[in-house]
Amino acid sequence: MKKITSLFLLLILVLGMTSCSSSSQSAASETPAASTPEAATEASPSEPEATEPEQDTAEAPENPIIRLSTTTSVNDSGLLPYLQPAFEADTGYKLEITSAGTGAAIEKGRTGDADLLLVHAKASEEEFIAEGYAPERIPFMYNFFVIVGPTDDPAGVASSENASSAFKAIAEGGYTFISRGDDSGTHKAELKIWETEPNPETDKWYVSAGAGVGACINMASEQQAYVLTDKATYLSHELKDTLSLLLEKSDEMKNTYSMLAVSPDKWPDTNIDGANAFIEWMLSDKATQMINEYGIAEYGEQLFFVE
């Protein structure tokens, strides 16, 4: 009995390892949400057409599955699940969406685990293109970061002219500020705003959290601190009433989202047709309208803007 059990376990282990190694080049791990869809698409590009459920308006394409890698802030805002049913009905493609921090999200493009990226970190995107992983970046929508903080606002952020003067006031007063600290799009934008970048080691008021947006808002609420966050996530966060929205729509806080299709030169098996179909659909009038309308009903204001 013991022999059989250990052989069985060994078999499972071997199967697990081979499926992992075939779906990624590096020794890296993937976010748990991603692992099952990755293994599924590994099978082969030609999926049997009979398995397409939502097929009333369009014909099934050859490779219907598009692996879209995006960031946690986009995902947490709820925009993609909102757009997904319309896209899938119109085109016959199926979206498999994974989200992670910006760095890991872009890395998926490098490792061939995504067909398409939807991110908001211009410098990282340009690096990605320079390395040849994508031919171009297509910026298509934007929104603003906002500065959120304690209602009594000791640093006077609400009356600041713009983001940099607000940050300056925070630094001078030594008021607690929660930073994402994870190289995400938000983090990079935040770093640009500081006149002199704070040092988490010596500036005790500057908290480098190394966590996602939601967790940072938790921390800000807990410590009644300032934090830079995107508006959509803040509005949908449960603790938003413990803090106040102090500053928005300052130029330095514009956050541009782009789409990048992974190049077949690097990954021949990538679903380039699917990626392009998604990009085309997102730039259409219908999508534009949907994006502009998102959030108005629930939060009373527009969360994403299309240029």
Binding site: S26, A27, A28, S29, T31, A100, G101, T102, G103, A104, A105, I106, E107, G181, D182, D183, S184, P200, E201, V207, S208, A209, G210, A211, G212, A215, M219, S221, E222, Q223
Partner: protein, 229 residues
């Protein structure tokens, strides 16, 4: 090979951040383990040698608590220490103290349960002899701890292993704050999420080495003289 270089650079290079992270990790783990075993082992041993009416029930509770998921312990501590919680006034959330609290909650039952089991194996042999010469319960406990010292010591290492590899509660109540509550496990999660897989793997290897050293030490103690227990 890039990973090996990365690892060595992280450990011995100019940037002291990894050393600081290891420092916080060890500080947290030592503290939680010490508190948990100093209270858990004597209590467990006492349960092991005692024979009272509700003993089975108490042991069942201890064994159930041993299976407490770490992240649930983190959740409990989170709500206890948060601003809106009963202990919010002390502002202990997102600190090493909070992490230690959650870990003690996890390791204490483990220490007590394992100790009780270890001691229970030997207790029947000893009980009547000890009672027959009139040893007080405290003396009996002390001698029993002495008798099972090797195995009880391995419980310490087991506890330490749990503390150092714990990530769920550490992230929840510690917040992974750079230079403050970032420990090896939460740092690995962060680097992975950032896409710095090489750095994450390097951190992982260092953590593995530490964990293996601990487990081997525990094993060596377990395989003590065969006449014990």
């Amino acid at each position: 090979m890039g990973t090996l270089q990365e690892m060595l650079a992280l450990l011995f290079g100019e940037n002291g951040e990894l050393r600081q992270i290891i420092g916080v990790t060890l500080q947290m783990s030592f503290t939680s383990t010490t508190i948990a075993v100093c209270s858990g082992i004597p209590l467990g041993a006492f349960l092991g040698i005692s024979d009272f009416k509700g003993k089975r029930f108490v042991m069942r509770i201890v064994h159930t608590l041993m299976g407490l998921p770490p992240v649930v312990a983190g959740l409990i501590v989170f709500f206890l220490l948060s601003r809106s919680g009963p202990l919010g006034q002390y502002k202990l959330l997102y600190s090493v103290t909070a992490m230690v609290t959650a870990q003690v909650m996890l390791i204490f039952p483990v220490a007590a349960g394992l100790s009780a089991s270890i001691v229970s194996m030997r207790a029947p042999l000893v009980r009547e002899t000890a009672q027959g010469i009139g040893l007080s319960p405290w003396t009996q406990l002390a001698y029993m701890l002495y008798e099972c010292r090797k195995q009880l010591f391995s419980v310490v290492f087991t506890g330490f292993g749990r503390a150092i590899s714990e990530v769920g509660a550490a992230q929840l109540v510690g917040g992974n704050i750079q230079y403050k509550t970032r420990v090896m496990t939460t740092a690995i999660v962060l680097e992975t999420n950032k896409g710095n897989f090489d750095k994450a793997v390097a951190l992982g290897i260092v953590l593995l080495i530490i964990a293996f050293i601990i487990t081997s030490a525990a094993q060596l103690l377990q395989d003590g003289r065969p006449t014990d227990c």
